[in-house]
């Protein structure tokens, strides 16, 4: 099954709150099978209202809310989401890395992308 970047974020937030899909479903008043499908990528593009309800129950921080909203309209590499969640990067840094454009066959790893994003912002300071 295709990995979904938004689904990955929701699963990480749910696991951080130590909730099962069923418990989250009950708290957010959403069918738990729908939540499972969102997390696995089988379902994508939930409504903004439903996403907001999930994020509220999951007590998502402002950065994670912005990340989730960004992913509603943009394809993001799930590896990048995983990487950003493990760092103190801001939502803007997340968006910069997610929309980074490349030329050529070589691709940098997630640490290299983070370093580039930080360097670009330092250049502005």
């Amino acid at each position: 099954m295709a990995q979904s970047s938004l689904g990955l974020l929701l699963r990480r937030l749910r696991e951080a709150r130590d909730l099962s899909s069923r418990e989250l479903g009950q708290l957010a008043e959403i069918d738990h099978t729908y939540i499972y499908r969102l997390e696995t990528g089988e379902k994508q593009s939930p409504s903004e209202e439903l996403l907001a309800r999930l994020l509220r129950v999951l007590k998502a921080k402002p950065r994670e809310v912005e990340m989730a909203q960004f992913m509603l309209n943009n394809d993001v590499n799930p590896d990048w989401v995983e990487h950003v969640l493990a760092t103190d990067m801001t939502a803007e840094m997340f968006e910069m890395g997610a929309t980074m454009r490349h030329r050529g066959g070589g691709r940098p790893d997630m640490e290299a992308i983070e370093a580039r994003v930080r360097r670009a912002l330092e250049d502005d300071a």
């Binding site: 910069m96 929309t99 030329r103 050529g104 070589g106 502005d124």
Partner: protein, 291 residues
């Protein structure tokens, strides 16, 4: 399918009103117009450049300082194209030379970049001074600071001669750029097909030679479903180390068909769709005279 004309027109609109007098040395006129800053970094092998865009719209374009100047310039303009056209990158790891597999967004940005580096009006004026040749390509690539392949491809596209530039890799035709005059004659070069056996390119590969030319290559050798008739001039270069071969083909003035060749009764939907469906009907309705 890529709408090459539309991309070139967007590039010309982007360039309108800009002072292009120093673009052979300095691309800041383009970079500043997209609210970006250009810099170089030592990047990994195979990575030519990248762009990061902030929420305020300002971008950083970075190109690989380990690559040669022509490639760095092309990369910078390719990144400008991403910003102007609003196209995302393809995240699969595909070599930039692989025309057979490259993403349409990347090809579109290459087309845009070639327009920025070799502005149509100035480049066409230079091309129109003489007949196509590799010497002319060499002179123009030095003037516009671009690669041989980029320059030859552009030359073939803008010349008034019925002309094509063909890029081949590993004995397979990967990419062809054709002039308007050649397109109007219904001349199609088969993509992803083996290099034609009777071509100079095939001979160079077979005999391990680096360059060659022949002014008597029958037109049916290169153009899909064409009958025998006129002869083409073909200049070819072969680089065994990279398994790359280039050919420049053209009809001398008044040395080719005067009207579109009626090959099989219709233009293909896409140039790279492979072989047409066999229908059992031979469509060589009109044969051009042999020179």
């Amino acid at each position: 399918m890529i709408d090459e004309l539309s991309i070139r027109m967007k590039a010309r609109q982007f360039m309108a009103g800009l002072d292009l007098s120093r673009i052979d040395e300095d691309l800041s006129v383009y970079v500043e117009k997209v609210n970006a800053k250009l810099s170089t970094e030592e990047l990994g092998e195979g990575e030519s450049g990248y762009t990061l865009t902030r929420r305020n719209g300002k971008s950083s374009i970075v190109v690989n300082e380990l690559e040669r100047k022509e490639r760095r310039r092309f990369s910078a303009c390719h990144e400008v194209a991403h910003l102007v056209l609003g196209l995302a990158s393809n995240h699969q790891e595909i070599p930039s030379w692989s025309y057979a597999k490259r993403d349409n967004n990347e090809i579109a940005c290459d087309i845009f970049a070639s327009e920025l580096l070799m502005p149509f009006d100035a480049f066409k004026r230079d091309v129109d001074q003489e007949a196509p040749s590799f010497e002319l390509v060499e002179r123009l690539r030095a003037k516009y600071v671009v690669s041989f392949a980029a320059c030859a491809s552009r030359l073939a596209a803008v010349t008034d001669y019925p002309c094509a530039f063909v890029f081949m890799n590993s004995t397979v035709v990967r990419y062809a750029s054709r002039s308007k005059a050649l397109r109007e004659l219904n001349a199609w070069v088969e993509m992803r097909a083996p290099i034609p056996a009777g071509s100079v390119a095939a001979r160079l590969i077979r005999e391990g030679e680096w360059s060659g030319e022949d002014a008597g290559i029958s037109q049916d050798v290169w153009f899909r479903d064409w009958p025998k008739g006129y002869d083409l001039v073909e200049l070819a270069k072969h680089y065994p180390a990279f398994e790359e071969t280039f050919s420049l083909l053209w009809f001398e003035q008044e040395g080719g068909p005067e009207e579109p060749v009626q090959n099989w009764g219709g233009a293909p939907v896409q140039e790279d769709d492979g072989l047409r469906e066999l229908d059992g009907v031979l469509r060589f309705q009109k044969r051009s005279r042999k020179k």
